[in-house]
Amino acid sequence: MARKASLKVVSGQERTADESAIEICDLSLIFATADAPIIALSNIDLSIKRGEFVSLIGPSGCGKTTLMRVIADLEHQTEGAITVNGVSPQEARLARAYGYVFQAPALFAWRNVLRNVTLPLEIMGMAREERLRRAAKYLEMVGLNGFERKFPWQLSGGMQQRVSIARALSFEPQMLLMDEPFGALDEITRDHLNEHLIRLWEQTRKTVVFVTHSISEAVFLSTKIVVMSPRPGRIMEVIESNLPAKRTLDIRETPDFLAVAQRVREALRAGHSYDD
């Protein structure tokens, strides 16, 4: 009996270590428009392991958001293959495998903070006590306990975005997809939320895919940085970052950090020309 149990644990560990979260193979996506088709993604190959923090970085129009939307089954590829948790994105979505945090908080104006966080739980048919327990837990985690009864318009932009993060965490998905979540915020708030996010990731070790425009944000947060380039949207380089897992904002002054940032910057420059 005991042996059986221990075996199970071992095999479970092995699986988590081996299994990849996202597997993308030769994926292309072409939008048909009135005049000429737009190649949003071209021959993307990418593999993301469980528990990784992966940033997609690149100039506007390089397909970062589109790639994320393909992973989330909000968009469908024209060619190539993609699996999320070993199944198709649609099956992963139906299994509620990921929480999506959008550029804007997209909170519901008629729901207070608490009911915004419990929205996905209501949709998933969770019991009321459990909903309240989860909401309390994740509002605490993003530092918003005490704001349950406030309505979105009573909160600052940073607080609204934190509510949307709590909402994405509330149903405890294995994966977080974050599309420039702090893009609209000022730098001070952004730094603060970045620290928050890295703590969160250390605690939960969820797989995170994070879209950003900011080099320092990408290097600070990620274990892997995917540099993309526009027209057509493609991957220029995948940079593994071996900065220590425990990170504070001070790390941004260290030579290791600056070296990684320099590599990202060079890769961006290589893929980006201002001529076209």
Binding site: Y100, F102, Q103, A106, F108, W110, R111, N112, I123
Partner: protein, 307 residues
């Protein structure tokens, strides 16, 4: 002493300024102006008749007599506000509410068909909007018909509705309500189509990312998002619903209701009665719109959408 005078000098303009800043002073000015023009117009429009009467009866009088006579005719071309006020006082407060001479009675008859028509029209408008937003074929096929329906003059179609419904046994309140409904479903359908489509794409994507099914997207996102639009439409709809009810009372032979009052007034040249009924209709319309606005404030307040 000096300070007292100075203080008074300071205070006087502040009171005046406060009056000007609020609604009271501008509204009062406009009302006075309208009344002034009204009394002048009453003299101008009624004077020829008074003079005719004087010529027939061989009477004569001063200009003062003439003005007094134009302001107190039994069937004037344009009655004065005083006459209309007196008629309103008599028919609202003096006559018992159950009497056929009571304007309260007639107003309540019109109000009931207005409210039934408004309820039916709101239901129809919302159902059409839900259909249009969710079913592609309806979106393409229904909208031209809805718009075309409103280009038909209601005065032309009202008698037909009354006759047809009368033939299959519906008389009284229902045919009038149907005409109300015919007018008021339109703004609600248009407003609700816009309202149900008002959630932004991110919110819809969010619901998709939760794998929410259609009725969840409707009840948790589209419907609450459309509530401000709904109330904007309801305020327009209840006002034209009243118009529909009054128009519906005209071809029925008009036993009761404000429309009936207007019709009998015009049969017998009772202009004072017509004007009193018009004022009553305006008061009724304003109260109904105010009532909807009040409900709107309460509902939006509860939804946290009042700022």
């Amino acid at each position: 002493m000096t300070t007292d005078v100075a203080a008074r000098a300071m205070r006087a303009p502040t009171v005046w300024r406060r009056l000007l800043a609020g609604h009271a002073a501008p509204v009062a000015t406009v009302v006075l102006l309208i009344l002034f023009v009204w009394y002048l117009a009453a003299i101008a429009l009624n004077a020829p008749r008074v003079q005719d009467q004087w010529k027939l009866s061989g009477a004569s009088g001063t200009t003062g007599d003439l003005i007094a006579a134009t302001w107190s005719m039994e069937r004037p071309v344009l009655p004065t506000p005083t006459q209309i006020g007196a008629e309103l006082y008599k028919t609202v407060f003096v006559e018992p509410v159950t009497s056929k001479r009571s304007l309260v009675y007639h107003a309540s008859v019109t109000a009931s068909s207005t409210l039934v028509g408004f309820a039916l029209g709101s239901l129809l408008g919302v159902l059409l909007a839900v259909g249009i937003v969710h079913i592609r074929t309806l979106d393409r096929s229904l909208m031209p018909w809805i718009i075309a329906s409103q280009t038909i003059p209601i005065l032309a179609i009202a008698p037909m509705i009354i006759v047809v419904l009368g033939n299959i046994g519906f008389t009284g309140l229902l045919p009038k309500s149907i005409i109300s409904m015919y007018l008021c479903f339109f703004p609600i359908a248009i407003g609700m189509v816009k309202g149900l489509r008002s959630p932004d794409p991110l919110q819809l994507d969010l619901m998709r990312s939760y794998s929410a099914v259609r009725h969840q997207v409707f009840w948790k996102l589209r419907w609450p998002a459309s509530v401000p639009f709904l109330f904007a439409s309801l305020k327009v709809a209840i006002a034209i619903s009243l118009v529909g009810a009054i128009v519906g009372e005209l071809p029925t032979g008009a036993q009761a209701g404000l429309g009936a009052r207007l019709l009998t007034g015009s049969y017998y040249g009772q202009t004072v009665q017509i004007w009193a009924a018009l004022v009553m209709a305006a008061v009724l319309g304003a109260s109904l719109v105010y009532l909807v606005a009040l409900i709107e404030r309460i509902v939006l307040g509860r939804m946290g959408m009042r700022r």
